[in-house]
């Protein structure tokens, strides 16, 4: 079935692919390596590839100076909270659209998608003023709600495409076999729905963790998640590369690892099911 590939061709492509991949990955690798250098070694020129003296000092410094973990947990609360809120609202909606569609279902889905096309900057002014008047600026609860709203259309769409794949026939079959409603839910529906919900959750956590418009505009020192905290490094601490790298490494590591596990779901979620 597979086309014959000469070993020579295979190795040429392998080497080429690895070179390209390493170039693309290099900035991340470089950040991780710099995190373990001293500030002096970080700005050696010509650059030292591996840290001449490995050190963990930067990680401790970042925590001691700017209470890194406060911002880390802000990110956890905002990304996790907005995802759970979105799921609570979206699961029933997606469920009913997938299993009892009406003539309007398609229009509703398209309309929900269209809300995602609204550029954030179009509503920056009113949201900022509303937050200001309600004393929600720089608060975790306000930001969590906004991120939930921003990601809700994607969550509904992803859930819808997953639920759509659950065969309805199997429910009827189980009813024929005498399954009562609660058994139907516990033994048939939940096991089939959970993978889809988990994938949706994963993708949404990634998106919310990295969201960098509302988090930058609606927070200051107190509720700032990692996106905003890292941005504050730019002005006064510009040349503390080792500390910037340490903070960055900690900020991207959890999502990088989550992301590696969710490549397929990513394709599906971000293309609204158009490419699977």
């Amino acid at each position: 079935m597979a086309r014959a590939v000469t070993p020579q061709r295979r190795w040429t492509f392998t080497i080429l692919a690895w070179i390209v991949a390493l170039i693309i990955f290099f900035p991340i690798l470089w950040t991780i390596l710099t995190a373990f250098k001293s500030e002096g070694d970080a700005i050696l020129f010509p650059p030292a590839f591996l840290p001449p003296h490995w050190t963990l000092e930067n990680f401790f410094e970042v925590q001691a100076r700017s209470n890194y973990f406060k911002h880390f947990f802000n990110s956890v609360i905002i990304a996790g909270g907005s995802t759970i809120l979105a799921l609570v609202i979206a699961v029933p909606g997606a469920w009913s659209m997938a299993f009892s569609p009406t003539r309007r279902t398609k229009d509703i889905l398209m309309w929900m998608l269209s809300t995602k096309m609204m550029p954030a900057v179009g509503v920056l002014v009113p949201i900022y003023l509303i937050f200001k008047n309600l004393n929600l600026l720089d608060s975790l609860s306000g930001l969590t709600v906004v991120l939930m709203l921003v990601d809700l259309p994607i969550v509904i769409w992803m859930l819808y495409t997953y639920f759509k794949e659950i065969p309805v026939d199997i429910l009827e079959a189980s009813r024929m076999d005498g399954a009562v409603l609660w058994k139907e839910i516990v033994y048939i529906l939940v096991p089939m729905a959970v993978p889809g919900i988990a994938s949706t959750m994963l993708l949404n956590i990634i998106l919310a963790w990295n969201e960098a418009f509302w988090t930058l505009n609606l927070t200051a020192a107190n509720a700032a998640p990692l996106t905003a905290f890292i941005a504050s490094f730019s002005a006064p601490e510009g040349l503390f590369w080792a500390k910037l790298s340490a903070a960055s490494t900690l900020a991207i590591a959890p999502i990088l690892i989550l992301g590696w596990f969710s490549q397929r779901q990513l394709v599906r979620g971000l293309t609204f099911g158009a490419v699977k």
Partner: protein, 278 residues
């Protein structure tokens, strides 16, 4: 059961947008609250005739189109490369998609400092190796630098989508074509590219939505400068709202940004809608 989702999105969509529209016809500056009232079309007039708007509009176009061209073309070739039976394909794939998971502020600061810095950056080291004086990228070529950073962030997305599409290409179809004597070039143009057409459209449209709203990368690297050299429409509206406190003007800019994005959105909705019927 559908009611909560619809209600929440309806409120989220209508209330802020209506307020933006309302403010866009008001004279309203937070620094000067006494001078307020109906402004007519004045905010739109000032926003649209301001030279900085033309520059920002041009920059938005350049940024969007360049990043699209780079990521789609490089993504096709990278996708085809990873689609080959290479050794360690899984690892290569993971390395290539990684930048997509880096938060924009980290990506921008890492590039600004460790890559592009004219004194200690990697690019400076590479250029000096070739005997060229280090280039202060962000000062001399601000928009180009941002194009590079944003392309690095979005190339993984394009590659991943196109790779997924390539993997659904029927192996037997390729075999049949090569039996009929198709070389690599005609194989690419007559088999691979047509097969990718839909995935490419999806990549272009989805990237466009995000690229029109690039913000964090500009904020932490150049702050839109020097002058307005790297300001896009999103950043211009932000600047007017939260730095100049001009609520009316910024709202007019916001409405214009919504209109621009909707033109693109119309196309995307058609494509996705067509797929829904299939």
């Amino acid at each position: 059961m559908l009611v909560p989702s619809v209600a929440v999105l309806l409120v989220w969509m209508i209330v802020p947008l209506a307020l933006t529209l309302w403010y866009s016809f008001q004279t309203y500056n937070l620094l000067n609250p006494i001078n307020s009232g109906f402004a007519g079309w004045a905010n739109y007039y000032y926003f649209l005739t301001d030279p900085s708007f033309f520059q920002a509009f041009g920059n938005t176009l350049i940024l969007t189109v360049s990043v699209l061209a780079i990521t789609v073309i490089a993504g096709i070739f990278l996708g085809m490369l990873i689609d080959q039976p290479i050794v360690g394909r899984g690892t290569v794939r993971v390395l290539v998609i990684s930048p997509f998971f880096v938060m924009p502020t980290v990506a921008a600061l890492v590039w600004k400092n460790m890559m592009l810095d004219p004194n200690y950056g990697i690019f400076a080291w590479i250029t000096t190796r070739f005997g060229i004086a280090p280039i202060p990228w962000l000062e001399d070529f601000p928009l180009f630098s941002i194009v590079i950073i944003v392309s690095w962030e979005w190339l993984p997305f394009a590659t991943l989508i196109l790779l997924t599409a390539l993997q659904s290409l029927d192996e037997e179809q390729k075999e049949a074509a090569s039996m009929d004597g198709a070389g690599p070039v005609s194989m690419f143009f007559y088999i691979v590219l047509p097969h990718l057409a839909r995935a490419i459209t999806v990549v272009i449209l989805i990237e466009t939505i995000f690229l029109l709203s690039i913000f964090a990368e500009i904020l932490v690297t150049t702050s839109g400068g020097p002058g307005y050299a790297s300001t896009n429409v999103t950043y211009l509206v932000y600047h007017q709202a939260l730095l100049d406190y001009d609520v009316g003007g910024a709202s007019a800019g916001g409405v214009i940004a919504v209109i621009l994005a909707n033109i693109v959105a119309l196309f995307l909705m058609r494509i996705v809608g067509r797929n829904l019927e299939a």
